[in-house]
């Protein structure tokens, strides 16, 4: 069953085929269809919005350039998402490879994060917290939590050892927990 969206009359398969044929209007439609979802993926892997937009551009250029390799077998969203992640990884490997991991100063105390309280935080705030992570931690956290990769795969992708991957993930979680706790306490204070 071909996917249809409210805004686009063309079924996705037809749209992809038109993109393979080089139809610019269809490429634009495909961008509009997937850009909002993919932009969030890029935001997770980047330090700020500008960097995310650059990854999004690279990703879409690559996706449209290699779209003829899509076999119509699996999910197109999964395929394009994989390309975005790949672009983010390439960018990380080329720019952050030799960057030392720095500690983030967290002043708040280590508190338990209540789910109800977390829901009071906006997605934008949570995204900002992920962006605040050091690049190496951010990569490991994203690949493990969002892409569902094992440490062995993460180690292979980032060129690090499994132990480093586990350590980075742990540190990332601790930092995020502190950031959330810090943010929640601010929210509480605002309510009081």
């Amino acid at each position: 069953m071909p996917l249809k969206t409210d805004n686009f009359l063309k079924p996705l398969n037809v749209l992809i085929q038109a993109c393979i044929d080089g139809d610019r209007h269809s490429q634009s439609q495909l961008y509009e269809l997937f850009a909002p979802t993919m932009f969030v993926v890029c935001l997770r892997y980047s330090a700020n919005r500008e960097e995310a937009e650059e990854i999004l551009q690279e990703g879409f250029l690559k996706a449209l350039g290699f779209i003829h390799q899509f076999r119509f077998a699996g999910s197109f969203e999964g395929w394009i998402r994989k390309i975005m992640v790949n672009c983010a990884l390439e960018r990380y490997r080329s720019r952050h490879h030799l960057r030392a991991v720095t500690n983030i100063e967290i002043t708040a105390s280590n508190q338990f994060c209540d789910e109800d309280i977390i829901t009071q935080l906006s997605v934008k705030e949570l995204l900002k917290m992920v962006q605040l992570l050091p690049p190496a931690y951010r990569m490991v956290f994203n690949l493990h939590v969002f892409e569902g990769m094992k440490h062995k795969e993460i180690a292979k992708h980032l060129g690090i050892s499994e132990g480093t991957s586990k350590s980075n993930l742990y540190d990332a979680r601790v930092i995020l927990q502190k950031l959330v706790a810090n943010s929640v306490s601010t929210v509480k204070l605002n309510f009081v």
Binding site: S28, V40, E90, L126, V130
Partner: protein, 442 residues
């Protein structure tokens, strides 16, 4: 604490997954511009060879046109004399200076146009001045004789006609006279018309001819390490086996004189090389993207199978037997020496060729543990757009009739410079081909 940490994972995932955020409007505009640039550059690359081919064809057509015009309006010594007011054509001579000489317009029913210059050589006297004087003195009889040798129409008049006295050489240029005189006709006039009904066609074969040819080639490569102490040349040489290739095209031959001629034209060559199965590895390309690199004798290409869109440096893939194809548009220039023996012409030629790359591709089947896919690398890094080669050949032609002849010619081609640059191995393609073709004489 650990439980809390795992909750962090879930809470972030649940909150962010599925969230959408619209990027800035100019993001698509930037992508669109980049797509336009890519499209434009690929179109330009594709049409470059067409420009070169068009330019070459225009040159050839222009040469043909110039030749055609020269044939119609020859600019010889005689013509220059006409332009300078020294027209000494027999009819003028008859009407002005030498009224005593026979008037062919009167004696022959029709107008006679004789060649641009007629020189009598007298072996006894030798010098040209003397010869010219004799022309003037003997004009009447000479022209009579000339007419008899070249004109088959009805001739009336006082001159004695003895056709048996005259003969021509192979090129139809020397007419022997009785006694000790000869007529050398330089630049044949073309047509003689008698009374509008009897047309004399003094046909002369054109200097131009065209050859359509086909050549099965047996390519072999000279590979040279760059720098010389590297190993890859031997590895590549052992892994690559040139397959049967072909060259086909059209040549225009311009005859300079009885023996020498120049040849040029356009040809298309298609070289196929089979590459043994091998393992290839992922590495960063020039843009920083990680892709699988495939090395070949002419250059290298990158591939990214759909089942492995995000490889890491050092990942490997197995490739089955691959086909490496090189297509060139060749613009050869050669000088040729011909020896005619009856219906056979033996020749030897040597020349150079400018070879413009049309396409360099590698097709392969890649496989990892569970997937396989056919990959085509259309862009090979390191491959030059143009390289130069030399050629040497010997051959023979057999004249079927006045216009057509068949030819066969074993040809050796060799690269003057390498077909690639900035790569570990420099490649010099050589080949031996058996050129077979048909010549059309204009």
């Amino acid at each position: 604490m650990n439980e809390n940490l795992h909750n962090i994972d879930r809470l972030f995932k649940d909150a962010i997954e599925g969230h959408k955020e619209v990027p800035l409007l100019n993001t698509w505009e930037t992508i669109n511009e980049s797509l336009n640039k890519t499209k434009t550059s690929s179109i330009e690359r594709g049409y470059n060879w067409l420009r070169i081919a068009s330019f070459s064809l225009v040159l050839i057509l222009l040469s043909l046109r110039i030749h055609d015009l020269r044939s119609k309006f020859p600019l010889s010594k005689f013509s220059m004399e006409v332009i300078a007011g020294k027209d000494e054509r027999p009819d003028r001579i008859n009407s002005e200076k030498n009224k005593h000489l026979p008037n062919y317009a009167a004696s022959v029913p029709g107008e006679l146009q004789i060649g641009k210059s007629t020189i009598i050589s007298n072996p006894a006297s030798g010098t040209k001045d003397e010869e010219k004087q004799q022309v003037n003195h003997e004009k009447g009889s000479v022209n009579d004789n000339f007419m008899n040798s070249e004109f088959n129409g009805p001739v009336t008049g006082s001159s004695q006609i003895k056709p048996d006295y005259f003969s021509t050489n192979d090129a139809g240029q020397v007419i022997s006279l009785p006694a000790d005189r000869k007529i050398l006709i330089v630049n044949d006039p073309g047509k003689n018309t008698a009374n509008g009904s009897n047309e004399l066609t003094n046909k002369r074969s054109s200097r131009l001819s065209a050859i359509i040819f086909f050549s099965p080639d047996f390519p072999f490569y000279r590979l040279q390490n760059d720098p010389p102490d590297n190993q890859p040349a031997n590895d590549i040489k052992n892994a690559e086996k040139p397959d049967l290739s072909t060259t086909t095209g059209i040549m225009v031959d311009y005859k300079i004189n009885g023996h020498w001629s120049l040849e040029s034209g356009l040809s298309y060559s298609n070289t196929i090389i089979l590459i043994d199965p091998k393992t290839i590895y992922a590495e960063k390309d020039n843009t920083g993207s990680v892709k699988y690199r495939y090395n070949a004798s002419s250059g290298y290409g990158y591939l990214l199978p759909s089942f492995s869109v995000s490889p890491t440096v050092g990942d490997s893939l197995y490739t089955f037997t691959s086909t490496h194809t090189l297509r060139y548009l060749n613009i050869p220039m050669a000088v040729k020496y011909n020896i005619q023996k009856g219906k056979f012409i033996l020749f030897a030629s040597a020349g150079v060729s400018t070879n413009v790359l049309l396409q360099g591709i590698i097709e392969t089947l890649v496989q990892d543990n569970s997937n396989n896919e056919i990959e085509v690398m259309n862009h090979l890094h390191g491959l030059k757009k143009i390289y130069f080669s030399g050629s040497a050949s010997i051959g023979a032609e057999y004249k079927l009739n006045k216009n057509f002849s068949l030819l066969i010619s074993p040809t050796r081609r060799f690269a003057i410079n390498s077909i690639n640059k900035n790569v570990a191995v420099k490649s010099y393609p050589n080949s031996v081909g058996i050129v077979t073709g048909i010549r059309f004489q204009f």
